[in-house]
């Protein structure tokens, strides 16, 4: 046995939003950074995302939303993780998200939000600095 923890993350698309280009690019960037990335695909409810995150024992859930329902969706994921006693799973996100919402989401427990223009280097670096294998 090689006794070494690998970083495992999940990239998920909550809600009805069909814009998955960003999510796929992020998933690939995470893979290229050496993480194991579980991809859930489109149209996930927060409940489905949380259950999958627990079964997959990931260290972080990355949510992507470009269709405007991010406040409810991201917040619900954080709450459900807390309810399941899994608040040690870090939540971050990205997409088309206005500044005032970013503040609210962060105070609700979403650790970081990346908007269009954020570089993949930044996004990967953030995980390396903020997500430790549990």
């Amino acid at each position: 046995m090689k006794h070494e923890r690998r970083v495992r993350v999940m990239v998920a698309k909550p809600g009805l939003d069909g814009h998955d280009r960003g999510a796929r690019i992020i998933a690939r960037a995470y893979r290229d950074a050496g993480f194991e990335v579980v991809y859930t695909g489109l149209h996930q409810t927060p409940e489905e995302i949380v259950e999958a995150a627990i079964q997959e024992d990931v260290d972080m859930v990355g949510l992507s939303s470009l269709a405007g329902a991010h406040k409810y969706l991201f917040q619900t994921v954080v709450e459900l993780l807390r309810e399941r006693g899994a608040e040690d799973i870090v939540v971050c996100g990205g997409g088309i998200i206005p500044d005032e919402d970013i503040k609210k989401l962060k105070s609700a427990g979403v650790r970081e939000i990346f908007t269009p223009g954020a570089t993949l280097d930044e996004i990967v670096k953030w995980v390396k600095e903020n997500v430790k294998p549990r």
């Binding site: 046995m1 090689k2 006794h3 070494e4 923890r5 690998r6 495992r8 998933a27 690939r28 995470y30 893979r31 290229d32 950074a33 050496g34 993480f35 194991e36 990335v37 579980v38 991809y39 859930t40 695909g41 996930q44 409940e47 489905e48 259950e51 999958a52 627990i54 079964q55 997959e56 024992d57 399941r84 006693g85 899994a86 294998p133």
Partner: protein
């Protein structure tokens, strides 16, 4: 430890998820847990699904889960995807096709990355099967990475091995002949909505019938079944064939116990000893710095690798600690 066994056998999802992670990450503590859980294993029926990349394995697994749930069976899924040899990372995408079962408490799905292991599975798959088995899942489905011809470790872990092909593979069917053909218990032609299905069916049939003498003696003859996984067509026929194979195993090989035949246990032990020895010896040599010194000496030309290996392995073996 008692607590852990209690949690796993009562189906606690977080505990099971964590334990599989520990196995995957090679945490030494996990060995004790696996020993304790072993008595609770041996009750699940394990089905291996293998075939080239993109033939529809995950789509099929998703449909199998749906059908098995309708029959009241609980299901565990282990889905293996490849680790990138460049970064060590992996995109585990099999789950995309199965996410509709995420909220069903009778289903547990776990994605695994090969992490450099060959054979179509991960180093951890065997133990992960045991854990889902101890968890009480009735049926465990194991999807391999999209494999070539001789990467069929799943055969050793499964009661029934399913080989998935698609129409129009042409020469690939010829290639399959070498490795995979002998190990398939059931052949599926998926995507049989496509052209060339009957041609592929005939080619497969011809190839299987080359072993007709075996079948005449009463050995299992692998059926070939046309399915359209994405349209949920033929899946019932397929599961009926699995039932039939299970009955065959019941009559000839002890049913569920067939996974623990002397032959298989022997193979499994060889693998386990290999892995454990390698780990213990290499850990020790790395710790003492002997490994690096030998590498240096070989690079400098003052030692040949054959003598180096001998000089390392034998003393290391003699000095391995008793664990107690």
């Amino acid at each position: 430890m008692k607590d852990l066994v209690e949690k796993v056998t009562s189906g606690d999802v977080r505990t099971v998820a964590r334990l599989i992670r520990d196995v995957d990450d090679g945490m030494p503590e996990v060995r004790e847990a696996l020993k304790e859980l072993y008595p609770y294993t041996g009750n699940a029926y394990v089905i291996g699904i293998t075939g080239a990349p993109g033939v529809g394995k995950s789509t099929l697994v998703d449909q199998m889960v749906a059908h098995l749930r309708k029959r009241g069976k609980t299901v565990g899924v282990l889905a293996v995807d490849p680790t990138s040899p460049f970064s060590g990372g992996a995109i585990l995408g099999d789950r995309v096709r199965m996410q509709r079962h995420s909220m069903d408490s009778g289903v547990f799905i776990r994605s695994l990355a090969t992490r450099g292991h060959f054979g179509g599975l991960t180093q951890s798959t065997r133990s992960a099967i045991d854990i889902l088995d101890a968890m009480g899942k009735d049926v465990i489905l194991v999807e391999t990475v999209g494999v070539g011809q001789d990467e069929v470790d799943v055969v050793r872990s499964a009661h029934t091995t399913v080989i998935v092909v698609v129409p129009g593979m042409g020469d690939d069917i010829q290639a399959i002949k070498a490795g995979i053909l002998e190990v398939g218990d059931i052949f599926l032609i998926n995507k049989s909505d496509r052209e060339g299905t009957d041609k592929t069916l005939n080619e497969l049939r011809l190839m299987i019938e080359m072993d007709q003498k075996k079948f005449d003696k009463g050995l299992w003859k692998p059926p070939i079944i046309k399915v359209e996984a994405v349209f949920d067509k033929g899946v019932d026929d397929f599961l009926a064939a699995v039932d039939e194979h299970a009955r065959y195993l019941e009559q000839t090989a002890g049913g569920l116990k067939s996974r623990r035949s002397p032959e298989r246990v022997r193979q499994e032990m060889v693998e386990m000893i290999k892995a454990r020895l390698f780990e213990e010896v290499l850990d020790k040599l790395t710790e003492t710095g002997e490994f690096d010194r030998a590498v240096d000496a070989i690079v400098k030309g003052s030692l040949d690798p054959y003598s180096a290996c001998e000089g390392l392995v034998f003393p290391a073996l003699a000095g391995l600690p008793d664990e107690e």
